[in-house]
């Protein structure tokens, strides 16, 4: 493979993997810490993209739109947890699947009512809308590089939050012994609400950040949801570190798979999952 093409593919896999990580890290936290299977997680990715579309048009600045979008999705996450999700903690997974599947339908319908069924696009921010030439014919878009940088910063911030702060300790502790966390004076209901909102905001943020390069279209959350579950399973349920490694692996497998073995391009992520599970049935990392 030509080195320039190789570099481009590598940057693409990094960018795809990191974006996937943002979605999957929330999913793995909500599943691993709170025990909730959130099928609607992909919908928040979609909602994020549509928010970026509308807000950018409304306020005229992509970054301001991102900021407002994050605030809105945090609010949405808090409200949903309060209204619905908190009723699921003591229930069987079947109820969780039913309720969160219902949410997918509701969000798709709402999306159709508000935004219609057309495909939309979001403009790449002006000052990042240029490419770095790599060879005479090949170049790489700067926005994609900046996007990966933002994702890496967020990954580092998440690592810091979960591994180094008292809030992170409480989040990890909440995964193993709910009663004891309460008995130490921690409001576990509030803690779970924050974790849920954080996960939702991360998924929505990924949708916003990716919108300039992926376009904005109906059902865009569903495919992301499935791959995110694959990431969670490969990484080990509840492990944010595992989600990062797994998302990057899938980014590489998917991107290079398309180039090297196009016949099975759609399956590489699942083949990777099967291989990892044969080798380590619990995923790469046990819970954080």
């Amino acid at each position: 493979m030509d080195p320039a093409i190789f570099l481009i593919q590598l940057l693409n896999s990094l960018q795809y993997g990191l974006l996937l990580f943002l979605v999957a890290s929330g999913l793995t936290l909500i599943f691993g810490i709170m025990g909730i299977i959130n099928l609607a997680h992909g919908s928040f990715y979609m909602i994020g993209a549509y928010l970026a579309f509308s807000l950018t048009a409304a306020v005229g600045n992509f970054w301001l739109a991102l900021f407002l979008g994050v605030l809105l999705s945090v609010a949405l996450g808090l409200a949903l947890e309060w209204l619905l999700i908190q009723r699921l903690y003591h229930r069987d997974h079947l109820y969780q699947v039913l309720l969160t599947y219902g949410l997918i339908l509701i969000f798709e319908e709402a999306r159709s009512l508000i935004w219609g069924d057309d495909v939309h696009g979001v403009q790449v921010p002006e000052f990042l809308n240029f490419s770095i030439p790599l060879t005479e014919t090949l170049s790489y878009q700067v926005y994609r590089v900046v996007m990966s940088g933002i994702c890496l910063l967020l990954a580092a911030a998440m690592y810091f939050l979960i591994q180094r702060t008292r809030l992170g300790m409480m989040i990890r502790a909440g995964a193993t012994n709910r009663e004891m966390v309460q008995a130490l004076g921690i409001n576990i209901g509030l803690l779970y609400r924050l974790v849920f909102a954080l996960g939702i905001a991360l998924a929505a943020f990924a949708g916003m950040l990716g919108s300039p390069i992926s376009s904005v279209y109906p059902g865009m959350g569903n495919q992301v949801l499935i791959v995110s579950f694959v990431v969670v399973v490969i990484g080990g349920i509840g492990s944010v570190r595992g989600a990062l490694v797994a998302a990057l692996l899938i980014g590489i497998a998917d991107t290079f798979g398309k180039v090297l073995v196009p016949q099975i391009a759609g399956m590489t992520a699942y083949l990777l999952m099967a291989a990892v599970l044969l080798w380590r049935p619990e995923g790469l990392f046990k819970r954080a």
């Binding site: 502790a173 012994n177 008995a183 130490l184 004076g185 409001n187």
Partner: protein
């Protein structure tokens, strides 16, 4: 009597249909040490959980420092100055020793900070040597020291110990009792549940005996010592 930290009346608690507590009355004064006794399955743990709001009584009332808390959430009740060392210890196995300790370290309900990180490590030198270990890598005795240390770091007015020496070698159990003495001497009230009734009796001011969810005896520790027949009847095996 000094200010009452806990005052509960007419507690009836259930697990599903099984009626566990039958109108229990209990009070704990500031700085007091209370031994809660009873054979296996008599409702000691259930009573402690009911006081903390982890089990909700179907009727009856719990007051902490004079404030009714029967319906209050557990986190709010314990923040009024109660620390709980549960049966089975309840350490977080996926957190390091250091993290287990500092996660909920805070000043007490009245702003006291008698117990800080350094003092806890000085009291439990074994923990100081294992700060980066995972909670699950500790021996039973070390885990117990960790839960007690963690509890003390919340600077409570009342420390509740449920079976703190269970499953420990006699030598380690002795260390735990020594620590309980230090805690007592520092003015923290204690509620102690333990299979070793003689040790509980020796260390506490007052004893309360539960039989099938009812208080059958409540009196000074010295008083119980002079009544071997009460001891024999309700606690003997």
């Amino acid at each position: 009597m000094a200010e009452l930290l806990i005052e509960a009346r007419g507690l009836h608690s259930y697990y599903g249909a099984s009626h566990i507590l039958h109108g229990v009355e209990i009070s704990i004064g500031r700085g007091e040490s209370l031994g809660l006794m009873g054979r296996n399955g008599m409702g000691k743990t259930t009573l402690l959980k009911t006081l903390l709001g982890l089990v909700r009584p179907r009727s009856g009332e719990v007051k902490v420092k004079g404030v009714p808390v029967t319906q209050a959430p557990t986190h709010r009740i314990v923040r009024m100055g109660i620390a709980y060392v549960p049966e089975g210890r309840g350490i977080f196995p996926n957190l390091s020793v250091h993290e287990n300790l500092v996660m909920t370290a805070r000043a007490g309900a009245e702003g006291r900070r008698d117990w800080d990180y350094e003092r806890v490590l000085k009291t439990f030198p074994r923990l100081a040597e294992r700060l980066s270990h995972g909670g699950a890598q500790l021996s039973g005795g070390e885990q117990q020291m960790l839960t007690i240390g963690r509890a003390l770091l919340t600077n409570p007015d009342l420390l509740i110990l449920d079976e703190a020496t269970e499953g420990l070698a006699p030598k380690i159990a002795k260390e735990i009792w020594q620590i309980v003495r230090v805690v007592r001497a520092s003015g923290i009230a204690t509620v102690i549940v333990d299979k070793n009734f003689a040790a509980v009796n020796a260390i506490t001011d007052r004893n309360l005996i539960l039989v099938k969810g009812e208080v059958v005896y409540c009196g000074a520790s010295s008083d119980l010592r002079s009544k071997p027949e009460v001891h024999q009847k309700h606690l003997g095996v």
